[in-house]
């Protein structure tokens, strides 16, 4: 399902805190409820500093009662969609889309390995429930920084039993991805949702195993990098410009607001259309996209402006403002 989504009014029915910084939202659409498939998201119109914007949130659980459920982690260092969501009280009016799906779960595979990190559990939780209910051969590896960060843990333990393994980062626990992939049945698939570091580790382990590339499935989180988001300065000598990218804004948005002509499409680091050349940097380019390969990222020739940032310094980039 990557059907076009339709927007409509909705009401926030209830909220419930799952962890100290993850909150569950139950949303009742005014129009037709479209039953979401595992891996689906809805788009929510949000207000950030009084400015309208859109955020995508994974659907949580099977939603059999006609309400959409999403879970939102309150993030201090990102673009402000979560702060808006956390400001809402039950009864609040929302504008939401019908579900879309960029992370579809295929049926009938001999085995499924699910890997979730932090808030990345949201689509993975829904998949785990669907697979367990269908009697599929499924295992879940679930990692969080701290013990109190695990959402849905009781439910997952009940449904999956020993097929659930949890890993607490600050206690030094790490999943052995090479070993887990090695014991995955031939034709089995790996589904990953989590921070970019986890995703890249999974991609490397998958590649090293020699398995078919299409059997590694993942969804990107444009807002998670190897470094915390911070404000950084951008110089564009071709345009005689120097702009500041605030901590809660993407480089792409900052460029567009400054009047730089840009093309873009996915805005989540997948398509590569918004990539620009890096001329130099005195910081570290935090590549948060999945468009460039590891080698291309290491070479630092270009960055995807929709998601990637700079940590600990400034960057000088070029644009396409020239005849040829």
């Amino acid at each position: 399902m990557s059907e076009p989504v339709e927007w409509g009014g909705a009401t926030l029915r209830s909220i419930r805190d799952l962890t100290p910084d993850i909150r569950l939202f139950e949303i009742e659409p005014e129009g037709e409820f479209v039953h979401p498939t595992p891996g689906s998201h809805i788009n929510v119109a949000v207000l950030i500093d009084g400015r309208a914007d859109v955020r995508s949130y994974s659907i949580v659980g099977p939603c059999t009662d006609g309400f959409y459920q999403i879970a939102v982690k309150l993030l201090g260092d990102t673009r402000g969609g979560s702060a808006y969501m956390w400001s809402l009280a039950p009864g609040a009016k929302l504008t939401v889309s019908t579900p879309g799906n960029h992370f579809e779960l295929s049926r009938g595979r001999p085995e499924y390995l699910l890997l979730a990190g932090g808030i990345g559990i949201t689509p993975i939780y829904t998949m785990a429930l669907a697979l367990a209910q269908a009697g599929a051969n499924v295992r879940l590896l679930y990692a969080c920084r701290r013990r109190q960060d695990f959402a849905f843990l009781d439910d997952l333990q009940e449904r999956l039993g020993p097929r659930l393994q949890v890993f607490v980062d600050e206690e030094g626990q790490r999943a052995d991805l090479d070993a887990e992939i090695a014991r995955l049945a031939p034709g089995g698939e790996l589904y990953v949702c989590g921070p970019i570091g986890m995703l890249e580790a999974a991609k490397r382990a998958w590649h090293a195993s020699g398995r078919p590339v299409d059997q590694l499935r993942f969804e990107t989180f444009g807002n998670s990098g190897r470094y915390p988001s911070e404000a950084f300065r951008v110089k564009i000598p071709r345009l005689h410009m120097e702009i500041e990218v605030p901590q809660n804004k993407t480089l792409l948005d900052a460029l567009e607001e400054a009047g730089v002509g840009m093309i873009s499409d996915c805005r989540r680091g997948e398509c590569g259309l918004c990539a620009l050349p890096i001329l130099e940097t005195d910081g570290i380019v935090d590549h948060r996209d999945v468009f460039f390969s590891d080698e291309e990222k290491a070479a630092n020739v270009k960055l995807c402006t929709c998601v990637s940032r700079v940590a600990g310094g400034s960057i000088t980039i070029d644009t396409a403002d020239r005849a040829a």
């Binding site: 399902m1 498939t37 006609g66 960029h102 078919p212 590339v213 299409d214 990107t220 997948e270 468009f291």
Partner: protein, 358 residues
């Protein structure tokens, strides 16, 4: 959003098995454009017939092994619908895929499930065993893109009084219009049973029975399985030999088979066959019967074809819906009621607050 008139969570015939080879074949099934092909392991794959990138029909591309290469920019999709190659980049966009539809081959047909794949249980494929080519034999065909709502074909088959007027001279007979009939149903099936006792056999059946001068008991037992297959158990036996009580040994028995697949709201694919249990190794008879059904406009199904398309045109020009119904439409109305129940299951009414009348 207006719901379409066909349920999506159902198996629909998409092709005859023999039509699907190791090459790309396009079909429209329930408003979904799909491309079908047979893989090297003999299994059939059905993918969304539109490239993820620029929507060019993948059926305009070509197969490379068991993968489809788009004919525009060379994106490659495997049998699961996942992109395995993108030009001019080192990675593959993780969202890049086309939909893969559940397909199962059974009863010499390829059945496709256009709805939620999680619900695609092969046990729900209609019972169409008459088409297996074993006990019953016959060679049918398909009217692809017949210009009418698929339900008009069901109406046509569920009420055979039309034979008297559309198919006079072959299977039509005044007796059909005067014989009583019985309609029964379950949650997913409807059956129209009509016996015409002690009548002159109509020309087609007189020839098959080959008992000149004898009167016959004629039966038409039409079995509908929702949403859109119809099997008509039909035949004649010499009057007084016990056919209505279950002994058909002094008769000839055939079955008309119809798997009707909505293509769009106003077109459908009509997979048909006429099979029989008599003279089963007479291949010339199979060809003759096929010709009696479809023969450059002169066969009985050609006659239906003309009526059905003309009816659809008239419906489009006369927005008087629903139609008026007669007693003879009981079978068709049960069939439509079962279809409507499937549609209601798929499209639950939004919970609108009730407005109390005061």
């Amino acid at each position: 959003m207006d719901a379409k008139p066909f349920p999506l969570n159902a198996w629909y015939a998409a092709a005859w098995s023999h039509e699907i080879k190791h090459e790309l074949a396009a079909r429209t099934i329930c408003d979904h454009d799909v491309v079908l092909y047979r893989r090297t392991d003999g299994q059939v794959t059905a993918l969304e017939d539109a490239c993820w990138h620029r929507l060019l029909p993948l059926s305009m591309g070509h197969l490379k092994g068991d993968e489809v290469v788009c004919g525009y920019h060379g994106l490659v999709f495997n049998a699961a619908g996942r992109c395995t190659y993108m030009p001019a980049q080192k990675t593959i966009n993780p969202s890049a895929c086309v939909r893969a539809y559940p397909v199962v081959e059974r009863h010499r047909l390829v059945w496709l499930w256009p709805g939620d794949p999680a619900l695609a249980d092969p046990a729900k494929i209609p019972d169409f065993h008459w088409n297996d080519g074993t006990d019953w034999v016959g060679e049918g065909g398909t009217f692809y893109d017949l210009g009418c709502d698929y339900r008009l074909v069901i109406d046509n088959l569920m009420d055979l009084t039309h034979e008297t007027y559309v198919h006079a001279g072959s299977i039509g007979d005044e007796a059909i219009t005067s014989a009583p009939f019985d309609v029964t149903h379950t949650e997913r099936t409807a059956t129209v049973t009509r016996w015409m006792i002690d009548i002159e056999p109509p020309p087609f059946w007189a020839k098959q029975l080959n008992r000149p001068g004898e009167h016959v008991d004629r039966w038409q037992i039409i079995y509908f399985q929702a949403p859109s297959t119809v099997v008509g158990d039909v035949g004649v036996a010499v009057t007084g030999t016990g056919a209505p009580q279950g002994d058909r040994s002094q008769g000839v028995n055939g079955a008309f088979l119809a798997a009707i697949t909505p293509a769009t709201e106003k077109t459908c694919h009509y997979f048909w066959n006429f099979v029989r249990t008599f003279r089963t190794d007479d291949e010339q008879l199979s060809r003759d019967i096929q010709k009696a059904h479809v023969n450059e406009g002169k066969g009985v199904y050609d006659q239906d074809h003309v009526v059905l398309e003309a009816q659809q045109k008239a419906i489009d020009r006369n927005p008087r819906m629903p139609f008026y119904n007669l007693n003879i439409d009981a079978g068709a109305l049960w069939a439509r009621k079962l279809i409507d129940a499937m549609l209601a299951e798929e499209h639950p009414k939004p919970h609108v607050p009730s407005q109390a009348a005061e």
